[in-house]
């Protein structure tokens, strides 16, 4: 089993378009949408839900009003300003249990809370693992772990798990890329795109994950494309391909299909080449 995470430091660089396209091109794949805070991959994959499971994503304090004597010890000890009128604000509580410790009346306990659902779907491209997170839900790093576990559970030895990673560099991204055989960073030639590419490459390096890059809409700013290529060269990061700006890419999204399914699309052709390069790099067998 090989696991590849498609990531971007910044959102909106075309990560999901690239990911859906690679998932369409690969054989023997299992797909995981780990962009759990803003999942979009399901909009490009024709899928049917097989099962849903409650996801207990966090532990929060709960005050039993019958035992509470309103002594305010919990209010004083809480560093997260999470107790108001002797009830716990679920959006603020971090589940640290300081209130449990200080309560002289054993009125506070820590309980597991459902913060979303993990979903396993079947699609014409194979199993598809994804999730739905409730608003403001915490512990999404753990949810990413769960989504990946659901996906890898269906992957055989020769299978590839294609992961749509979260944007950013925080805990969800860390959970998306750790233990992967490779990450493919989808960048775009903007100042912020370059800045964020550097941050996410730092992160991959920090966790010892092999990184590759590709540049989407590279022709929008050839100068910055050059700078990104140069930066990657200096760090020994292979750029597996450059994808031209192509209106058919956004049309594909509107039609709910990956852009590689549009035969004459320039972006699709470029992504096909990226897949060939990635396959070679990872030594993925072809049937």
């Amino acid at each position: 089993m090989k696991q590849v995470a498609i990531v971007s430091g910044k959102g909106g660089t075309g990560k999901t378009t690239v990911c859906a396209s690679l998932a369409n091109l690969a054989e023997n794949r299992v797909i995981a949408d780990c962009d759990v805070e803003a999942p979009n991959l399901h909009l490009l994959i024709d899928s049917e839900v097989l099962r849903e499971r409650d996801f207990y994503g966090s532990k929060l304090a709960l005050i039993n009003p019958e035992k509470c004597q309103k002594c305010e010890k919990c209010v004083a000890v809480c560093r997260f300003d999470a107790i108001r009128d002797f009830t716990v604000d679920e959006l603020k509580c971090e589940g640290c249990a300081a209130c449990v410790f200080v309560c002289p009346h054993q009125a506070v306990s820590i309980r597991n809370v459902v913060t979303g659902k993990t979903v396993l779907s079947s699609s014409s491209w194979g199993k598809f693992s994804h999730a739905r997170l409730n608003i403001g839900a915490d512990g999404s790093g753990k949810l990413v772990t769960e989504v990946r576990k659901n996906a890898s559970g269906y992957a055989g030895d020769d299978d590839i798990v294609i992961i749509d990673g979260s944007p950013g560099i925080g805990c969800v991204v860390i959970a998306s890329i750790t233990g992967c055989d490779a990450v493919l960073v989808v960048s775009e030639p903007t100042l912020s795109g370059k800045h964020d590419l550097i941050r996410v490459l730092d992160l991959a390096e920090h966790f010892g994950t092999k990184a590759y890059a590709c540049i989407n809409k590279y022709d929008l700013n050839p100068d910055i494309t050059g700078e990104i290529t140069e930066h990657c060269r200096e760090r020994n990061i292979k750029v597996l391909g450059c994808i031209p700006f192509d209106r058919q890419a956004s049309q594909a999204i509107s039609r709910g299909i990956p852009v590689v399914r549009i035969a004459d699309s320039a972006a699709g052709t470029a992504i096909r080449n990226i897949w060939i390069n990635l396959k070679n790099e990872l030594q993925i067998k072809t049937n």
Binding site: Q3, S58, K142, S152, A175, G179
Partner: protein, 122 residues
Amino acid sequence: MKMVVTAEGRDLDAPVDPRFGRCEWFISVNSDSMEFDCSANSAVNSSQGAGIQAAQFVVDSQAEALVTGHVGPNAFQVIDASGIKIYDGTGLTVKQAIEHLKNGRLTEIVQAGPAHAGMKRK
């Protein structure tokens, strides 16, 4: 000798779970009498620091040895500081691993593997 083995099932015929922090079960075995009990790994559901929590379980169980696959840097530190030896039981059943350990045929893990390796393989 008392030892803890990470396992994919609940008895001695189960395969050793190569993951440590996010393994399914801990089997605590007395290698002389082969008596054992099984506990679910509560760390598997922690949102962070699963390896550390699992290591704390092993330390608290007062085992002298741990048989598993990959141990990340944090968990390694906790187990190592308690003087518990770690052995690689990848590919064996729990029973085989214990026999191998008694005969000195298990490799000792003397260095932490990469972090979050439990994400890598089932």
